[in-house]
Amino acid sequence: MSELTAIRADHLGKRFRIGESDPYGTLRESLMKGVMAPLRWMRRERSPNKIGADMHVWAVRDASFEIKEGEVVGLIGRNGAGKTTLLKLLSEITEPTEGQAQVRGTLSSLLEVGTGFHPELTGRENVQLNGAILGMGRSQIKRKFDEIVEFAGVARFIDTPIKRYSTGMQVRLAFAVAAHLESDILLVDEVLAVGDLEFQRKCMGRMEEASSMGRTVLFVSHSVASILRLCPRVILLDRGGIVEDGKAANVVKTYLDSGFGTSAHREWSAETAPGDEVARLLSVRVLDDSGAVAEDLDIHRPVDIEVTYRLFTPATGTSPTVTLKFTNDEGTVVFASTDMVRTDWYSKPRMPGVIRSTCRIPGNLLAEGQVFVELILASTNPAAIHWMESDVVAFHVQDATSGEGVRGPMVMDWPGIVRPMLDWRIEAEARSPEA
């Protein structure tokens, strides 16, 4: 690690426009604005109007930090905390609304694997194109080509259009290109969450190598395990601001303990209810088997996820429907479930009003740990997503160490993304070996 600063952010902020109005303007609006400007000026309405101010949201606000050359820093936070926006600001994909950042040296951002891959082009051509897009020069690509192909393990198909590749092969090839970048600074966003286990291990190895070579790495991930493995320092973001910045173990603890920013209970007022003209969400709650909102739940008892929304138009068929996706704190999707399975409900027409859809997760299914719930409120016909959000609610599953849990009397970490209580049959053979 050198004493030179690789990245310095000073009160970095990014504001996006949201709301009813389409951010993508039409010429007419702009022309009208131009025509109306003198009129407004005459009426002394030069201050920005209040409605306009409400339609903006700060994805990142007042973020200040410094990263030294050779440092490897993890960035965690729940979805919507501003992690990706921060990476986009540092990689110049979007411009900051306020504040500034200073960056020393060449920088490559890996916000997804295979950026710019084209299905019609061959593996070879895609390596060249993708390399160039990520900032490699022609000579560098030529020099690294064989290494990349070998890393990806696709040598036999290198002159085949990648539309004929399996998804796994495409991902491997894409990551191989990214892994051979020689930029001074790498910004990596969750790309390790793809590919098979063995390949993931290979990628992690590659990232560790990059950091030991003195590269600066800023790594965004949901996977607490990989953050802890790679990053001595972690920055925790929430609602666009930096909450904690320090030693990985401490920050990760804050993050996990609080289920940060995600609670077991979300509620919206009529004005802020997310959704569209068909349906708007009113509340999402995590309930224990007594019907009370609960953050910490006993592994043996069922959990209810209750989704309440307002339907504005008469509906028939599967619209709107509630789908839930459950993710653990390593970013692995444990399972997903949809209320479309209730065909009896969806076969009848529904009138506008408040609808409550509750999903019961039986006890002895989820593993111990934090569980994040993604909600998708959508219709299939006509297809439309009224609203979706990952980590809309979260809860913590606790397994007792009293000896009645799946682990039996053991108190060690227990593997697996589910923890069902299974039946064991134990019997002694009828005839004893002595006889």
Binding site: M1, S2, E3, L4, P23, Y24, G25, T26, L27, R28, S30, E69, G70, K88, L89, L90, S91, E92, I93, T94, E95, P96, T97, E98, G99, Q100, A101, Q102, V103, R104, G105, T106, L107, S109, L111, E112, T115, G116, H118, E120, L121, E125, Q128, L129, A132, I133, L134, G135, G137, R138, Q140, R143, P161, E182, S183, D184, S212, M213, G214, R215
Partner: protein, 298 residues
Amino acid sequence: MRTPVSADAPGAEERGRDRRPQPASPRTLRTLRARKGWTGFGLSQIWNYRELLYFFTWRNIKIRYKQTLIGAGWAVLQPFFMMIAFTFLFGRIAEIPTGGVPRPIFYYAALLPWTYFSTTVSTSSESIAASQALITKVYFPRMMLPMSFALSSLFDHLIAFLMLVVLMIYFGVTPTITLALIPAFVALAAVTAMGAGLWASALNAIYRDVRYAVPFLLQFGMFVSPVIYPSSRIPAKWQTLYYLNPMAAVIDGFRWALTGTGRAPGAPLLLSIAVSLVLLLTGMMFFRRTEGLIADLV
């Protein structure tokens, strides 16, 4: 901008947590902040990313020809059939004079630069919207996208040009020494198309109306360019106005350089060159000005 750094700059001796004082870093420090107002042409950026421009151009060509059945044939067929239609419609029926040049040559020589221009403008105007996935995921000067289409269309243009050679041999048109000036007119067409493409792509990223305006404007542009008639038919008092359209000079130049007939380039050409350069430079400036908005809008 990414400055080239040699492969072993963060060398192996830095391995571990070595805290020896280091030589002054050759890495450049740059500041990212909101760009305000006009910030020039971005020439140094274009230079730094010239290899990416090459790769985008190469990609455009590859993709265009991989997805189609007859590949390069399209580059020839389009102007060729237009030429046949024009020969009958405007030649046989409307009997527009061509100044002694065989009609197919007369039309094809004009359709070549015009097809190049209109293909470039329409593809580059969509280039930003079509590359949404790329633009929101990785940084590069966005200008590379529309510019690469001005370059990749040159490849089509070259193929279509071969057809012209065949036509000239067939109709026994002997080229004169002026043929050597063709590259200069191609360059003028490229500058014009790039300029118009930059304007159209930047506007298209901000206003969706542009998508509908571009085809209409291109159609209109063909009528105010000497594609279906010789420019000699334009009354003298309208000449200056007429050559504010740089494609008028390009098309005139093509006909003249290929067949040695028609109007030799003169003062109007200088006007067209000036307009064309202004179009390109203002296009670059306007594009730079809107660049900050693009990733948030597409």
